[in-house]
């Protein structure tokens, strides 16, 4: 179940990026490291909140969920089942849809790009793609 290892690794990276953005939102991190991007423009816009909660927090929850499912899926009891992979497809798909919405906002509403948001979008799409590929793996292969 190599795809679950890949997803666990990608999820862990995404978790730290989302945690960084969340800590910044809470004022626990100073100036955001953003390079040439416009992270603060994006992060301080009204689109950085959904139902009153910073979107970065949703990222933390989402990546924690994907990390947890992928690690559980690596346990001997679940290695031979496709259930965890299907769940990862669902989580990755939901995350990708959310990232697409946020990317649309960046491109066509704010006209500003947050480097970290792009990293998160790439990670999420990669997780979905890996999970979809994982659906084709035969459990006995591993």
């Amino acid at each position: 179940m190599k795809h679950r290892m890949v997803i666990a690794t990608l999820s862990l990276v995404g978790l730290f990026v989302a945690l960084y953005l969340s800590l910044w939102k809470l004022g626990l991190v100073g100036s955001m490291v953003c390079g040439l991007g416009s992270c603060e423009v994006v992060q301080t816009s009204r689109y950085a909140y959904l139902f009153g909660i910073p979107v970065a927090f949703y990222g933390v929850v989402g990546y924690l969920a994907m990390l947890g499912v992928s690690l559980v899926g690596l346990q001997p009891k679940f290695v031979a089942t496709l259930g965890p992979t299907k769940l990862l497809v669902g989580l990755g798909g939901s995350g990708t849809a959310f990232c697409l919405y946020l990317t649309y906002i960046e491109a066509f509403v704010l006209d500003a790009w947050c480097r970290w948001c792009i990293v998160i979008a790439i990670l999420t799409v990669s997780i979905l793609a890996t999970a979809v590929v994982g659906l084709r793996e035969r459990p006995s292969e591993n």
Binding site: M5, A8, T9, L12, V13, L15, F16, L19, Y20, L23, W24, K25, L26, G27, L28, V29, G30, S31, M32, V33, S38, E40, V41, Q43, T44, R46, Y49, L74, A112
Partner: protein, 221 residues
Amino acid sequence: MKGFYIGLGALAVGGVGVLVVAMSRGGATLPSGPINVEAIEMARSWPGYVLGDPEAPVEIIEYADFECAGCRVQWVLTVQDIKQRLVATGQARLTFRDFPLTSHMNSAPAHHAAACAADQGMFQQMHDKLFDTQPQWTGRTGAESMFRGYARELGLDLEEYDACTGEGRHRGRLQASYEGGLALGVNSTPTFIVGDHLYTDGVTYDLIKALVDSIAAIGEQ
């Protein structure tokens, strides 16, 4: 499999390390503590942020707090009208004076952010931005980072902005404005002063317009 978990663990440790370093870096935050008395004295003659023709016959003074919800309402309902119909037409000038209430946790940094923006000729833009976004930062931690985001969005020189906020360059001036307001009888926000009339419970455009007209008429006599 063991190698995978070791690698994942190493990645986790590295990630935590990066976050700890990022948190220890802090940022340019407004210094606290006593303000230099000389700085306050020197700022007493500062007139405030004047919008409009300095030679306009009537001065409308507004004492406001960026974190005061009533000030935001007044900004939406009345100040826009005053700007467009009295200031832009040369009938009056609008002077904004800082009255950062200590009961609001983000008032001081908000007013300081506006003062630092004013150094770069962007006071009105920051003023409008702060009132526009007030619900997003009022009473919340991390507001100073948000103000820095607004500075970035407005195209300010961030290095200069950080230096300004980091050293608390305008704390004396803000305190002088606050004390000046108290001396005039301001004890709440928003307070408007037109001529010798002081209104502490907010105003309507019609009231301000009537005052401006009457003061202008007296001046013409």
